[in-house]
């Protein structure tokens, strides 16, 4: 196997695949990239068994072949070299690689490509095409809602629900929930899949630019294909709650307030809340919102009053300010609408005006106070 490639080109492509390489993998071969050369196309594959990333790079190929190469060493030398054409020559019998640069020669030992786990079979059972910007946005929003609790594995993923012309992403940890709906697709089926948040983080990191992403999936796997890159992730088959039944539709009290004002106020007030519970209290009446917090252990206290428009009964409601700020931070700038009842029911946050062609809903659970 022999080929010529630009060092910065290869470096960029390998960086995409690096996300799927764990620092301490179960099998030593998973520290490697699998290099496969066919004609002028070099395919590099990396995997941690849950996520697999395959990237194609244009090279000047001379002879075809395969080898597995240690990722760390390879990336280090590519990073240290200024941009220039590199000559790769691989001895497939003894599994070693020799790279020739303008400065000299570098030799490293590779592994037998047979040992590299086979790529899962690509089954295009259900397919769907979506713009990269929309996908990146949907992942970025909903991942905030997900949980880290390994005891509820279903909540550590983002649910993607495809319903004829509507695509919905949901992330929740039972204290907060983020739901993002995009109505601009056109398929002839209703299906859903649950992707682990770790894989979604990796995908989001490489979704730069404006291009189409083809998504296809079956019961076990989801594939994201875009711009010479194929992303494969295992799906979670743990139960995801029937979230829609828990989103109240008849909350009678409505608050209109500027997002930035509320978020900044919360940032200040939460400094004075107990560090272990982060609890803040909202006092709502006709024309003002009073936010306060108290840390009894250190005798800290803070109160702020914000102008707002409020329709409904005066109410006192408490929240975990950490959760509240997390969800609020993803909201669009401008006014928000908050629908609530009291401390017994979830509280909903919506933008006053939804952005065109999408729908964002945030939900946060209050703390039970009022004795």
């Amino acid at each position: 196997m022999r080929f010529k490639v630009s060092s910065s080109d290869l470096y960029k492509k390998l960086q995409v695949g690096l996300g799927a390489i764990d620092s301490n993998p179960v099998q030593p071969i998973l520290e490697d990239f699998l290099f496969v050369l066919k004609g002028n196309t070099l395919t590099t594959t990396s995997s941690n068994l849950d996520t697999t990333i395959r990237v194609e790079t244009e090279v000047q190929g001379e002879t075809d072949g395969e080898i597995a190469l240690p990722a760390k060493l390879l990336l280090e030398i590519l990073k240290a070299l200024p941009d220039q054409p590199l000559n790769f020559e691989i001895d497939e019998e003894n599994n070693w690689l020799e790279v020739t640069s303008a400065f000299g020669k570098y030799r490293m030992a590779g592994d037998d490509p047979i040992d590299f786990p086979a790529l899962p079979e690509i089954e295009q059972e259900h397919t769907l095409t979506i713009n990269s910007k929309i996908l990146s946005k949907a992942i970025g929003y909903t991942i905030i809602g997900t949980s880290d609790d390994e005891l509820k594995p279903g909540l550590t993923g983002v649910l993607c629900l495809i319903d004829f012309n509507k695509l919905t992403f949901v992330g929740t940890d039972a204290h907060k929930l983020v739901k993002y709906t995009y109505p601009g697709i056109d398929v002839d089926y209703t299906k859903s899949f649950l992707t682990p948040k770790k894989s979604l983080h990796l995908i989001k990191n490489v979704l730069h630019g404006d291009f189409d992403v083809r998504i296809y999936f079956n019961d076990k796997m989801v594939f994201f294909e875009f711009e010479n890159t194929l992303f494969i992730s295992k799906l979670l088959n743990d139960p995801f709650p029937n979230y829609n039944a828990f989103i109240p539709v008849d909350n009678p009290n409505t608050l209109y307030i500027d997002k930035k004002d509320l978020l900044n106020s919360l940032k200040r007030i939460s400094i004075f809340a107990s560090k272990s519970t982060n609890q803040v209290t909202f006092n709502l009446d006709e024309s003002s919102l009073t936010i306060s917090s108290q840390d009894l252990d250190f005798s800290n206290e803070a109160t702020e009053q914000l102008p707002c428009t409020y329709e409904g009964e005066p109410v006192t409601i408490g929240f975990n300010s950490k959760f509240f700020m997390e969800v609020l931070s993803i909201m669009y700038p401008g006014n928000i609408r908050m629908e609530l009842l009291d401390y017994t029911k979830p509280c909903i946050i919506l933008p006053e005006e939804q952005e065109e062609g999408e729908h964002l809903l945030l939900l946060i659970m209050p703390v039970v106070m009022g004795y």
Binding site: A174, Y243, F246, S274, N320, T344, M365, Y371
Partner: protein, 381 residues
């Protein structure tokens, strides 16, 4: 004159005195307060009963063998708390700084008051005031530190007061038995006796190094105590670190259903206590003592909560993983620690509005009519 003056006050046979206030026919008779069943122990007993050799923490069976004519009462913690609070109020009114060390014990810091009032005179007046206003006998000891004052109170009992003037602490302690030092229990006393040390004076003359060799870190503390050295300050308010409940069964049991129900009952009442104090817990501990007295505990760190539902689930989980010996159980207990102030966070999928409302209504009923006014059916034991 005292440089530092610490007053210790202790209500004499507190539970007995309260019972006598409520029913004067108990005056002058041997009276024992404690559990009535076969496993009960003596919580408090009158001086008349003590004459027969009865003392607190003695098994009730043995106490009745020693003093069969004694009247035994179950005791009523609520009224003891009430009287204790009355005494606290009287003390709080006059004292500059006080520490409530237990239900019937108080420490007061009177440093600097000598010049104006005379500490002992002031203390005696306070003692008289407590007796006058509550009708409960109380003893006191006044000295330079907590330790000597407490031992002084012990010497002043019943119903007396003792001053150990500045500089005479060591002389005061010298002739007393080492068993009188708080913190020296049965085992330490036994060991000291074997060493031939019976009087505090002897103990105070043993080199610290020798004591440290015999008793480890505790050795130095022992030596300091014997030499009347105690710098512990008066702590006016102590943050409660944990709340717990334990139950010894009348007979060792294998009835898991009953045991789980008892655990739920404890969880309910502790969780109610948390909520009414506006606290949350973050560590749950479950304890099992088997019939052979082997005791095991298991604890778990959880997200801050005071929600019955969550606590029940964790306690059940802990108990199921802790109980593995297929042996009769003598005692079970639950402890909540890692307490902070706050309200519990609702769970979107598990807490329904109905559950929360139910919990709140139950708490409201309990706030008005007491904890036992309403309970879950499975905890009605």
């Amino acid at each position: 004159m005292f440089e530092r003056a610490i007053l210790h006050m202790d209500l004499d046979t507190f539970f007995v005195s309260v019972e006598r206030l409520k029913n004067s026919s108990f005056e002058g008779k041997p009276l024992i307060i404690g559990g009535l069943n076969s496993r009960g122990v003596v919580a408090s007993c009158s001086y008349e009963a003590r004459r027969f050799g009865v003392h607190s923490a003695m098994p009730m069976k043995m106490a009745l063998r020693l003093c069969p004519q004694a009247t035994v009462l179950r005791g009523d913690m609520d009224s003891y708390t009430l009287y204790s609070n009355m005494v606290t109020e009287v003390i709080a009114e006059d004292a500059p700084v006080y520490e409530k060390a237990s239900i019937d014990e108080f420490y007061l810091d009177l440093s600097g008051m000598d010049r104006y009032f005379g500490c002992f005179k002031w203390s005696s007046e306070l003692r008289q005031k407590v007796i006058r206003e509550t009708g409960l006998p109380i003893s006191m000891g006044l000295s330079v530190n907590k330790l000597v004052s407490k031992i002084g109170t012990g010497e002043a009992k019943p119903n007396g007061g003792k001053e150990i003037p500045n500089g005479t602490e060591k002389c005061f302690l010298a002739p007393l038995s080492t068993a009188k030092i708080p913190g020296i229990g049965k085992e330490t006393y036994k060991k000291l006796s074997f060493m031939g040390v019976r009087k505090i004076e002897t103990l105070s003359r043993i080199p610290v190094r020798l004591l440290e060799r015999e008793f480890g870190q505790n050795g130095k503390v022992l030596w300091e105590k014997a030499n009347a050295i105690d710098m512990t300050p008066i702590v006016p308010y102590r943050e409660q670190k944990s709340i717990s409940k334990e139950r010894t069964f009348m007979e060792d049991s294998l009835d898991l259903r009953m045991i789980r129900d008892v655990l739920s009952g404890m969880a309910d009442s502790l969780a109610y206590e948390l909520r009414s104090k506006k606290k949350l817990t973050s560590v749950i501990t479950v304890k099992i003592r088997y019939a052979d007295f082997n005791t095991y505990t298991k604890q778990k760190k959880i997200a801050y909560t005071s929600n019955d539902r969550v606590l029940h689930a964790y306690i059940k989980e802990l108990f199921d993983s802790l109980y593995e010996r297929r042996q009769l159980i003598r005692l079970i207990g639950v402890k909540f620690s890692g307490l902070v102030s706050g309200y519990f966070q609702m769970d979107l999928f598990e807490d329904t509005m109905k559950d929360i409302r139910l919990l709140q209504q139950m708490d409201r009923i309990r706030n008005r009519f007491g904890y036992n006014a309403v309970k879950r059916a499975n905890t009605l034991l």
